[in-house]
């Protein structure tokens, strides 16, 4: 069976700014319909540039982008109608009311008036009691939700969230993710960038990593964790030792400076982790342990190691 066509297809996309800076270098990326895709990358990696091009805010230099099968340049109306964008910065019309600004967005996208839909969006985002307030009177977190409401006002099939939870407190962030999950359940495709890697780890179906204008990895989150996930076993010793006995050399153990902790890296994917034999070899070497714990490398560790790699 053929895979369904991607909802967004980016091929060979490059962007060179007037200054000569190459922000994107030959990006190829397909976004599947209905997924939550997290785009990770350090500051200046090209995340926002990529989103800006797909949404029509910046011109591309080379390559092609289609949204729902529509070319973003030759068929921009059809392409942009499908997209709701929540940019990183809080750009709002300070003197408008919440209701007016959200209704304006719906009109701008060519949709007929639908107060019931706007009401639902505002209620979902806990903004209903603020609908007649001027935006200037709202807190930062509320302004962020107003921007999400604007993006959802025209019932988009794709939602871009550029750093949506920057500056949003923990409770609101959870509420926001509930909304995102609800949107996904209703069939909306979501592309988000975030600095909170645990968020991507928790929310995303797939993860892409971008660095210096190049996509260096796109992977199912589970596969990524599996592929790159390393576990670490830490052994707390009853008595300090000065050096690792030669008999234990094959395990490539690391001894802490105070001589009381031994760490052992192993691969969860491996057929044999080697833990059992390590423990018996330790006993044979006369080393007794008082405690042990294991940690799994997080997406953040994976991310850092990818981006730092030469």
């Amino acid at each position: 069976m053929l895979a369904p066509p991607p909802i967004i297809s980016v091929s060979n996309l490059s962007k060179t700014y007037g200054s000569g800076f190459k922000a994107l270098k030959g990006i190829n990326l397909d976004i599947k319909r209905g997924e939550i895709f997290a785009l990770l990358g350090p500051n200046g990696a090209g995340k926002t540039t990529l989103i800006s091009i797909i949404c029509g805010i910046a011109n591309l230099s080379e390559g092609r982008v289609t949204v729902g099968g529509h070319d973003i340049n030759s068929d921009y109306r059809a392409a942009r109608s499908l997209i709701g964008l929540v940019p990183q910065e809080l750009h709002t019309d300070s003197f408008e009311t919440v209701w007016a600004t959200v209704s304006f967005s719906r009109g701008l996208f060519g949709k007929p008036k639908n107060p019931a839909h706007i009401e639902k969006v505002l209620k979902d985002l806990s903004l209903w009691d603020k609908k007649d307030s001027k935006i200037i009177t709202l807190s930062g977190g509320m302004k962020r939700r107003v921007m999400i409401a604007k993006a959802l006002s025209h019932e988009p099939q794709i939602l871009f969230l550029d750093e949506p939870t920057a500056g949003v407190d923990v409770e609101l962030r959870k509420g926001m993710w509930d909304v995102v999950r609800g949107l996904q359940a209703s069939g909306v495709t979501i592309i988000l960038t975030t600095h909170y890697i645990q968020e991507a780890e928790e929310m995303a179906d797939r993860i892409g990593v971008i660095n210096k204008g190049e996509i260096i990895l796109v992977e199912d989150k589970a596969g990524l964790m599996q592929k790159l996930g390393k576990k670490q076993l830490t052994l707390h010793l009853q008595q300090k030792i000065d050096a690792i006995p030669p008999a234990l050399a094959p395990y490539k153990l690391h001894l802490s400076d105070d001589g009381r902790l031994l760490t052992y890296d192993y691969d969860t994917k491996g057929e044999r982790t080697g833990i059992t034999s390590l423990l018996s070899d330790l006993r044979n070497a006369g080393i007794h342990i008082s405690d042990l714990d294991t940690t799994q490398s997080s997406l953040e560790d994976i991310f850092v190691s990818l981006v730092r790699a030469p």
């Binding site: 949404c55 011109n59 921009y76 059809a78 750009h91 709002t92 300070s94 967005s105 701008l108 060519g110």
Partner: protein
């Protein structure tokens, strides 16, 4: 055409006008009334008739044009500059709208506002001086054409400007002098012949002359030339706007 988008932008801009009613309507009306009091009543009574009409009456079309020109530029330039300044332009750029729709929305609202303003000023003038409009339809034509043309011009300034200083610079340093020297307060025929020739290089002369003709059938230049120059300037502005959107100049990086 995305008519709903045009409507949304237009109503958004008009809402801004009503929100700032004092600044956008009341203050130009007050300042124009001051001109009537000073030039029409105080000084005007000492000036003989100009080409058969009293001086106070003579300056009405020029004063209306002065307000329409400056307000069209101010409204339209601010209307598009402000979203650029606060960043809300992202939404316009990412919406399924063509540049023609964006221009109709912004320029239409700015022009509407200055047309309303022009009519209010005429009504105010009628309180001070007797006012006859010989060719109401031509009067409206010149009023609408001028409002649209200079709103387009303001739109271009608003896109070009990357700071509030630039936003003010063109209206203050170029448009206001051109309007004052364009025959708002005098007939070009009153100038010495050398200056008359220089004055004919000023595009505003043609606007005011044509507009004044529609009131009193007196004109510095022929009506056809006035109309032609106005349409020519409109065309130049349209080409500039087309170029701006085609290249993304100062809108898309």
């Amino acid at each position: 055409m995305n008519y709903r988008a045009i409507r949304a932008i237009y109503l958004f801009e008009m809402a801004r006008t009503w929100r700032t009613l004092l600044q956008s309507i009341v203050s130009p009306v007050v300042s124009t009334s001051l001109y009537f009091v000073v030039f029409g009543a105080a000084i005007g009574s000492r000036i003989t008739e100009v080409e058969g009409v009293s001086y106070g009456t003579f300056i009405v079309p020029g004063l209306v044009m002065l307000s329409v020109l400056t307000q069209s530029i101010a409204n339209a330039s601010f209307g598009i500059y402000f979203p650029k300044f606060v960043g809300t332009i992202y939404e316009i750029l990412s919406a399924p709208v063509s540049y023609i729709e964006i221009v109709i929305g912004y320029v239409g609202a700015a022009a509407t506002k200055s047309i309303i303003l022009g009519l209010i000023i005429m009504a105010t003038a009628a309180l001070f001086v007797p006012l006859h409009i010989h060719h109401p339809l031509w009067m409206l034509t010149f009023l609408v054409l001028t409002a649209v043309t200079f709103s387009l011009f303001g739109f271009i300034i608003g896109i070009w400007a990357d700071g509030f200083e630039k936003l003010q610079m063109i209206p203050m340093l170029i448009v206001t002098p051109l309007t004052f020297l364009g025959g708002s307060f005098y007939s070009v025929n009153m100038l010495p012949s050398g200056w008359r020739t220089v004055t004919l290089l000023n595009p505003v002369v043609y606007l005011i002359s044509g507009f004044r003709w529609s009131f009193y059938e007196i004109a510095d230049v022929s009506v056809g030339l006035s109309l032609g120059m106005t349409l020519g300037f409109l065309a130049i502005c349209m080409v500039l706007v087309w170029w701006i959107f085609r290249t993304g100049y100062r809108l898309k990086n």
